[in-house]
């Protein structure tokens, strides 16, 4: 038994020594070389794409924020000026609203307050009372 072990171990040793002596081929590659090249290129282009997106998001956010801020500043100014003065003169209302409407058309959140809107159709000298215009009457059942 001992001799058998010795012989097999000697055999194994010589085989491994012989294997070590022969010129080994190069390291086995898992993927063909052109494929690793393509994978590297795709990873690189993906990183470039992500960087461009990040750069766009980064550069646009502050510029968009500043644009919004400047518009809201202007809106606040008008709101402030509108809130602090009480229009009792119909002419001023008309004039201001036309100025507002020509200047701020793109917003669409200014309200036309000319008298033409509330002038009634039946009678040229009568004006509708907007408060009665709404149709949602609350009717309680008896």
């Amino acid at each position: 038994m001992g001799k058998l072990c010795a012989v097999t171990s000697c055999l194994l040793l010589t085989v491994s020594a012989a294997a070590a002596q022969t010129a080994q081929p190069q390291i086995e590659r898992l993927l063909p070389q052109w494929l690793t090249g393509i994978i590297a290129v795709s990873a690189f282009l993906f990183l470039v794409f992500v960087t461009l997106l990040v750069k766009k998001a980064w550069c646009e956010k502050p510029s968009r924020k500043t644009a919004v801020e400047s518009e809201s500043d202007r809106e606040n100014e008008f709101v402030v000026t509108n809130g602090n003065t009480y229009e009792t003169n119909l002419d001023t209302i008309r004039r201001k609203s036309t100025v507002e409407s020509t200047g701020e058309n793109e917003f669409g959140n200014t309200y036309e307050t000319t008298l033409e809107m509330v002038r009634s159709k039946e009678d040229p000298n009568a004006f509708d009372n907007l408060a009665f215009g709404s149709a949602d009457d609350k009717v309680t059942s008896m």
């Binding site: 190069q26 390291i27 690793t36 690189f44 282009l45």
Partner: protein, 661 residues
């Protein structure tokens, strides 16, 4: 020594000497072309001013910039060193070249805009403006000159000498001195403009000749697949020790490496581990391409920032070639001549090439001597001369710029422009003399792997400089104390590794050096990475503990403020003011004297040849002080073109890295 001369004579009687009319005609033709290009460019730019002599008047277009970057970089050291290391250990050494593709883009996009708006001529000048004080710029000038002499000049001359000895059998001193004198001639007279135009011509010669040799070597070995197949069995026939009591030769010393065709190798057992190849070479490359005077000076001579970027892209594409033109032929040389190039027994190696350590350095010259036909051998000699002369000329010019603008102006602040130009020229001659005296030292130290030697010395000394420059450009908080102590700390760390390694010697495979593991165990590329990070940490810590530099001193000196148009209060304005005043007084005195003296014929001729026009030049460039800021604005169309081109080049580079990884 005796066997060495014997082998040299044998070689020269075989086929080495260039003594047939075809070869001689090509060499003579090459020299005539180079000198005529040099003379032509002398008349194109005004070399009488500092800007004209040292920066070619800032008129260069992209193609001389790109070609000059490539030719200044590729020296004879690359031919001999890349081919030799390729023969010995495979393609990983090409990683040094392919890493530069990305670093050269960093140069053009990040660093040069800052250098241009800063309005500096030399790199120590930039540090002086950025940090103030004089010790940092003095340190950088001295260490740059030191690195030039010990890594670039000596290696290029040694490689040229190896080539000349192997291919021609000439007396090395005669050959090198003649070469240096011809180089010095067109460097001294022409200035940077002559250099850049001759570099363009020499780039063509280098690439054409190297392509021819590569073609012949592939034909000889049987094609690319034959190279892949045969390299692993390129073992020498004599590998048993001649003196078994002294040493034994283990198989791994003469068998080609298993990972010879991999760029990225095992981090612990590889000879060029992949973290080192990717990051360590990037750091050393950052020093070489982005902070070193030789390379940056060429970019500063360009006409506009777009031309700089286009030149960098061109240089990047050209840097793809050395792997195929130098590394592969080196490996082919080992396949074709395993007993000479791959010799391992020390006594045999000494007979073949004069060094016991190994003969891989003769890989490229052996190919030139053995497989090139008549006429083409002369072309290859012209190629080697082109590489050698272009690199040496660039180094001479840049070192004279450094010496003149940084060291001489400190010694004599009242020096006029004419005096500075003369001093620049005299310094070139001095450095030629120093290089000639250095030849015997390099010969005696003949190390087996030349390229490794340059790279390891660079890895020990360059990372602190790269780190300080990177932080100076991008981090405003860094100040003079931080930068100075970072540089000194980095230098000490680098010396702690470099001096013991030189003391114990690098050793060879058969006689390993007994350098202790603590000092030499870490691979030099990994050590470079560690050194870079340690220096950066030191710089940042010291900077944050001391007071910052205010923004008013930093306009157009850092990347974030490169477009600012505000007035900058220079930190070194006192020095500059004193210098300018002294200069003006000296010029007044000279003008008074010049009006009196009579111009004799010979004096006038000499002055014209040397590009002086001493009395006219100061008037033209008198408002040097409030000069217009160099413009770094770019035309948007060209900006997008250049950016797209850079992206394409990076994609190609990534593909090549992936293919050979």
């Amino acid at each position: 020594m005796h066997t060495h001369t014997l082998s040299m004579e044998n070689l020269s009687s075989d086929k080495g000497t260039i003594n047939n009319p075809a070869d001689i005609a090509i060499i003579v033709g090459y020299f005539i072309m180079v000198i005529s290009v040099g003379i032509w460019s002398m008349f194109r730019t005004n070399r009488g001013t500092v800007g004209g002599y040292f920066l070619a008047g800032r008129t260069m277009t992209w193609w001389p910039v790109g070609a000059s970057l490539f030719a200044s970089n590729i020296g004879s050291g690359h031919f001999v060193g890349l081919a030799g290391t390729g023969a010995a250990s495979g393609i990983a050494v090409g990683g040094f070249e392919w890493n530069a593709l990305f670093i050269v883009l960093l140069l053009g996009w990040l660093f040069v805009p800052v250098y241009l708006t800063a309005g500096v001529i030399t790199m120590p000048q930039y540090l002086k403006k950025r940090f103030g004080g004089t010790r940092i710029s003095l340190y950088l000038s001295v260490i740059s000159l030191f690195l030039y002499i010990f890594t670039k000049i000596s290696v290029d001359m040694f490689s040229g000498a190896v080539f000349i000895q192997q291919a021609l059998g000439w007396n090395i001193y005669v050959a090198v001195i003649t070469l240096l004198l011809i180089t010095a001639l067109y460097t001294v007279t022409g200035g940077l403009a002559a250099l850049m135009y001759t570099d363009t011509f020499q780039t063509f010669v280098i690439i054409a000749g190297a392509f021819v040799l590569t073609g012949f070597s592939f034909v000889q070995v049987g094609g690319y697949s034959a190279l892949l197949a045969k390299y692993s069995s390129a073992t020498p026939s004599n590998f048993s020790s001649m003196d078994p009591q002294r040493y034994n030769i283990s198989p791994h010393c003469y068998t080609p490496r298993q990972d010879a065709f991999n760029l990225l190798r095992d981090p612990t057992t590889g000879d060029l581990p992949w973290p080192g190849v990717i990051f360590g070479i990037a750091i050393v490359g950052g020093w070489y391409w982005c902070t070193d005077q030789v390379i940056v000076q060429r970019c500063l001579a360009a006409r506009s920032l777009t031309h700089v970027k286009a030149g960098c892209i061109m240089c990047g594409y050209l840097k793809l070639l050395p792997m195929f033109l130098m590394v592969f032929p080196g490996m082919i040389s080992r396949i074709l001549y395993p007993d000479e190039v791959g010799c391992v027994v020390p006594e045999l190696c000494k007979m073949v090439c004069g060094t016991e350590v190994g003969c891989s350095n003769i890989a490229y010259p052996k190919l030139v001597v053995s497989i090139m036909p008549n006429g083409l051998r002369g072309l290859m000699l012209a190629v080697m001369l082109a590489a050698l002369m272009s690199s040496l000329a660039s180094i001479f010019n840049s070192s004279s710029t450094l010496f003149t603008m940084d060291i001489w102006t400190r010694i004599r602040p009242q020096a006029t422009e004419r005096e500075l130009i003369i001093v620049g020229r005299v310094w070139v001659l001095c450095i030629v003399a120093i290089s000639i005296c250095w030849i015997p030292v390099v010969q005696a130290a003949q190390s087996g792997q030349l390229f490794d030697y340059i790279q390891s010395v660079s890895s020990y000394l360059a990372p602190p400089i790269a780190s300080v420059f990177l932080l100076a450009v991008f981090v405003k908080r860094v100040n003079e104390m931080g930068a100075f102590w970072g540089l000194i700390g980095g230098l000490l760390m680098g010396l702690c590794r470099m001096l013991p390694e030189f003391w114990f010697g690098t050793g060879s495979c058969i006689f390993p050096s007994n350098c202790p593991y603590l000092v030499c165990g870490v691979h030099y590329l990994h050590f470079g990475i560690i050194l870079f990070f340690c220096t950066s940490v030191l710089v940042l810590v010291v900077s944050y503990c001391t007071k910052p530099i205010e923004d008013q001193h930093l306009h157009r000196l850092v990347f974030s403020l490169r477009h600012s148009k505000e007035e900058r209060k220079d930190l070194d304005w006192e020095q500059e003011e004193r210098g300018r005043r002294a200069q003006r007084e000296a010029e007044e005195r000279i003008r008074e004297m010049a009006q009196e003296e009579a111009k004799s014929g010979i004096c006038h001729l000499v002055r014209r040849f040397c590009g002086g026009g001493g009395s006219e030049a100061p008037e033209q460039d008198a408002p040097e002080a409030p000069e217009k800021l160099p413009d770094i604005s770019e035309d948007p169309v060209w900006k997008y073109t250049v950016d797209a081109n850079a992206l394409i080049m990076m994609t190609v580079a990534v593909f090549m890295w992936g293919y050979y990884a």
